[in-house]
Amino acid sequence: MELQKRSLIILCLGWLASLALASFVAGYYYMEFQNLNGLIEKYENVIMRVNICIDYKELNETVVWYNDTIVSLGCNLLQATETVALVNSTYSPAQQASFVNAINGVSNHGAYFWMWQHWNDVQEKWEYGDVGADRYRLTNNETVRWRYELPSYT
């Protein structure tokens, strides 16, 4: 009987310890979160939030959204995309713009290319970008999409 009582007490102490540890770790991440929030508030006037979509639907039916991505104010689409994905691009001096070759390891292949679009809030539809991604300056709360697709002009 006493053995059971002792074991129970020890198990309870161990459980309490694990609970306290979990609280410390939770507290640690809460403090980190608070610090990060403070940092964002501090730099609020030099950052903006954009929504970036990477659409692999033509490849594997996958669409990934990166909503409220924090980027520096006035940053271009290529820079913003590089904050959420691994981008391979080539700068063309003739076009004075960069050409995106691959996003997250998915390369342009055959007639399939990475095309980008931005959401037109007024007309409520996607519109193709008419310049290279590094020439397009994003605005706060803008929504953009990269699509791996067979372009309509082909």
Partner: protein, 183 residues
């Protein structure tokens, strides 16, 4: 204190200090295991003495630097672990020996709790020294505490039972006969 006891105390403390001063990853230590073992095998007084002496010497010779105001807190924390080793043994003797598995389970849970208490005691030292809030100090050191607690839990759970038997055999005693485990 008899000469044999003094020799024993010196040997256990030397083992502890030797291991304590050996380069090792931070927060992974064997001192608490040996202090608990000493307390368990030779009584609370010995456990407390080994823990206190080890941390006193460690405070001056530690490769991490001089312990400063934290030394008394480290002594207190480690002495407590040695003390509980003796108390646990008494409890086992009184209530009947648990099986090897239960013993390992119990000491691992006990190690988690004692290590946490040790960390809290040592943090109090830092708090006094650096004049910061204790909750903030505990939270900032959360991952260090986790590593210490987890490593001690694993160490106690896996090594203590074997060590008890080995030291008992070396001493020519059989103070701890376990019920045979049936798999």
């Amino acid at each position: 204190m008899r000469a044999k006891n003094i020799a024993l105390l010196a040997v256990m403390t030397s083992v502890c200090v030797g291991i304590q001063l050996t380069p090792r990853p931070p927060q992974i230590e064997f001192t608490s295991l040996i202090c608990f073992l000493t307390g368990f095998l030779f009584g609370s007084f010995f456990g407390v003495s080994v823990g206190a002496l080890t941390m006193l010497i460690n405070g001056f010779l530690s490769p991490w630097g001089f312990g400063d105001i934290n030394i008394p807190f480290q002594i207190l924390g480690m002495a407590l672990i040695g003390f509980v080793g003796g108390v646990y043994r008494k409890s086992c003797t009184r209530a009947g020996n648990p099986s090897a598995r239960w013993f390992s389970l119990e000491v691992s849970f006990l190690a988690a709790f004692l290590t946490l208490i040790y960390e809290i005691i040592v943090t109090v030292g830092f708090v006094i020294f650096l004049n910061v809030n204790i909750i903030v100090a505990l939270i900032l050191g959360a991952w260090f505490t986790v590593v210490h607690v987890v490593s001690n839990t694993v160490l106690f759970g896996t090594a203590l039972f074997g060590l008890v038997r080995i030291v008992s055999n070396v001493l020519g005693e059989q103070p701890w006969s376990y019920k045979k485990e049936v798999l």
